[in-house]
């Protein structure tokens, strides 16, 4: 199903909020497609989902699951 309005932004917010994307220390948070693909892959692997790097239906559904508000330490790059 194609992305609805705001779904991509919501996904980026999720990846940011939970530590899959590194908040840049200065400047606005516009991420390269590579950054987002990499962050999605890490999230999908940690969630035991098919690792596609795409914002597919199962990934979006997983992002809607109830969860803890603390970050996830699964992206080694952002973890550092």
């Amino acid at each position: 199903r194609p992305l609805g309005p705001g779904e991509k932004e919501a996904a980026v917010d999720y990846l940011l909020q939970y530590g899959y994307l590194q908040k840049p220390l200065e400047g606005s948070a516009d991420f390269s497609p590579e950054d987002i693909t990499e962050a999605l892959r890490v999230f999908q692997e940690a969630s035991e989902l098919p690792v596609s790097g795409q914002l597919d239906v199962t990934t979006r559904a997983r992002m809607r699951q109830p969860r803890c508000g603390l970050e996830d330490p699964f992206n080694q790059k952002t973890l550092k």
Binding site: R62, P66, L70, P73
Partner: protein, 425 residues
């Protein structure tokens, strides 16, 4: 697991600042207390509740607005809770969630609280999606327990729970209770075979109560006799009945027209309560795992009680013989045991029932010989698998606690479930 920090001390205080509106406060409290217990069971940590002033760990509920938390919540769903890492100690729950206990509906408070306490103790999120410390809520699990990764993480922070030290801690906990009998009372002889009550308690320990004393019964022997009040502070002796509910992880004691309820070895707030809706001076009580109900016995009748629902006792008591085939009236004690069978005790004898609640062949048998490991003065009866043989003394009395509680009450709503024979098939 991921380690985010640790407390420099292992004996922490905690304070519950407020509770959710979607759960009766006693059930919510019990859920939070049990959450601490999961971590206490596997690490050399102790948690002492304070009712006022500062505490190391502070649990509270807030919603989209909060005067003391910049991390506001987002309404039902999505973010359920958050916590600070050591040594900050704040643990916040989203008050807009449907917090529940004992059901698949809503969000289980006990499991989420245990997760957030994991953070407050220094753990980060786990890669194991079935671990407690996984970031996403995996739903209600009736027999929830920590995942090996959770245990490995907390022990990496605070070390293993040393059984000797555990006993010390329990002794220390016990030392706050007068071990010296307040007035001399005859110590019972377990080999008399007579008991006031029997209970399969937390961690499947079998407790026998007689007079002012309680002891454990194990496959290898009897534990030392303790005064009842030395373990359960505030509990009188000469009890009528005792029952532990794995469903709520609460222990109930009955005597006269009152019921006592304990979380671990601490009396639940507001107890003892007066019994209403059921008889006083009960004979026995048991928890039946097949329908998760508590059964209370007196004379020739029984009451069936659902701890988590309002029960209409107007159709009770029902005849014991109508459900428990072959069991005598005027019981001394009753218990569902870890072999899946139900045991009834009267005088020096006991009866064992199969899963269809029928007394099995070859019963009654002698309590002293088959349960209390006493050399019998009666001809040796061949013990069955559910009975206990082989004898050594000195089993350590289990004082490991467990926690959650509810209230015993009645009102007009119909009985949740009737288990008369035709209904159970």
């Amino acid at each position: 697991y991921l380690l985010l920090g640790r407390w420099r001390k292992k004996h922490l205080t905690f304070r519950i600042l407020n509770l959710p509106s979607t759960l009766p406060s006693d059930i919510a409290r019990a859920a939070l207390l049990q959450a601490f217990q999961y971590w206490r069971n596997v690490a050399p940590l102790t948690f002492r509740e304070v009712q006022a002033g500062w505490a190391d760990i502070r649990l509270s509920f807030h919603g989209r607005q909060s005067p003391y938390c910049s991390n506001t919540f987002d309404g039902p769903g999505r973010v359920l809770a958050h916590a600070d890492i050591p040594e900050l100690g704040s643990v916040h729950f989203d008050e807009d969630e449907l917090w529940t206990e004992g059901t698949y509906r809503g969000v289980n408070l006990r499991i989420i609280a245990a997760h957030e306490l994991g953070h407050a103790l220094g753990l980060g999120h786990s890669r194991y999606t079935q671990a407690l410390m996984a970031p996403v809520y995996a739903g209600y699990r009736p027999r929830f327990k920590l995942h090996p990764d959770d245990v490995a993480g907390i022990q990496a922070l605070y070390g293993k729970k040393n059984p000797e030290r555990k006993d010390e801690e329990d002794e220390m906990e016990l030392s706050t209770v007068p071990l010296v009998p307040t007035k001399p009372s005859p110590m019972p002889d377990p080999c008399s075979g007579e008991v006031d009550a029997m209970m399969l308690g937390p961690r499947e320990k079998t407790y026998a109560f007689k007079g002012d004393y309680v002891w454990t019964v194990t496959d290898s022997g009897l534990g030392p006799l303790f005064r009842v009040s030395a373990l359960w502070e505030g509990l009188p002796g000469n009890l009528d009945a005792a029952v532990y509910s794995p469903r709520t992880q609460l222990i109930y004691f009955f005597k006269g027209d009152k019921v006592w309820c304990y979380i671990n070895f601490k009396m639940a707030p507001g107890f003892p309560k007066k019994l209403n809706g059921v008889g006083r001076n009960l004979d026995a009580a048991l928890y039946w795992p097949l329908n998760q109900k508590v059964f209370l016995f007196k004379g020739s009748g029984y009451w069936q009680w659902d701890e988590l629902a309002r029960t209409d006792f107007s159709h009770y008591p029902k005849p014991i013989k109508g459900l428990f085939t072959g069991v005598p009236d005027q019981l001394s004690a009753a218990m569902s045991w870890r072999d899946g069978r139900v045991y009834f005790f009267k005088g020096e004898k006991y009866w064992r029932l199969n899963r269809q609640l029928r007394v099995e062949k070859g019963y009654p048998r002698n309590i002293a010989h088959n349960w209390m490991h006493c050399r019998s003065r009666i001809p040796n009866t061949t013990p069955s698998s559910g009975d206990i043989m082989a004898f050594t003394a000195g089993t350590k009395l289990d004082t490991t606690p467990s926690a959650k509680y509810t209230t015993l009450s009645t009102n007009s709503s119909p009985t949740v479930m009737d288990i008369t024979p035709q209904a159970t098939g």
